[in-house]
Symmetry: C2
Subunit: 135 residues, 2 copies
Amino acid sequence: MSCTKILLEKGYRVTPQRIMVVDALHSVETHISAEEIFNKLKEKYPYANISTVYRTLELLKELGLAAQIDIGDGIARYHAKEHSKHHHLVCNKCGTIIDLPETELVPLEKALLRNCRFKADLSHLAIFGICSNCQ
Amino acid sequence: MSCTKILLEKGYRVTPQRIMVVDALHSVETHISAEEIFNKLKEKYPYANISTVYRTLELLKELGLAAQIDIGDGIARYHAKEHSKHHHLVCNKCGTIIDLPETELVPLEKALLRNCRFKADLSHLAIFGICSNCQ
DNA sequence: GATGTAATTGCAAATGGTTGCAATTAATAT
DNA sequence: ATATTAATTGCAACCATTTGCAATTACATC
């Protein structure tokens, strides 16, 4: 199921700007910042607008089509959710980002539901610490 | 051990601005934003400066005296670390923040070290989801 | 295909937070 | 008590992101 189809189905308009943001997001396997998406867009369409990029990313996030991670440098990064579900281990020393399969957090998810009756959304999380190289 | 003593010991200066930020941070049991601290400061000392507030909070964080949480509204909040170690469960529907004792995350911490050789710093974390009332 | 309308965009201004740099000052040595 | 000096502050400019609003446009209906 493509992102644009889901947009249409949910009653959102499929505009050229939105198509270009979706394309840019899917053009990378890893995460990408709004600024980087904006620059890719401008190559094709010089009138591209940064606030529309942010608004589209926000919408994709709401629809569960994109995930946002914050690795602590003040710049939000995004990736298409279909590009594998995983978490991020961010090293506080060297900045390396290690991908962690989502299964690693299933026990925590269950414990929070059992002990706190809290339905945690642990679909994308950044965990900070020190990687094996830097220890 | 007071914050100001630790500052001195580590070779940092104890300035009036820093004392006031520390006081403001300790004056609340819960978390507080930089803006709120700044407003408290201005009541006492009208020449207070917001960038010094941010820099002091950053320093306290580095020294492990304060913790920062981001509950997803784009505003960073801080609390004195001695005010109990805990995590935050943030409800995506009603915005309620539930405190979670740190022991709840010990199994995850151990699993990450064992499986990924990653020394996670899970001292303060915000976990998003749906609280029991909103489910 | 033309028309109506609500969703979306583009702009400019605002927000929360950070930074470079010259001026000031807390702590140290005298 | 004074002088020295490196740490800290205050300012203004900057950055990433958000928002209000008027202009535009994708889609639905005829």
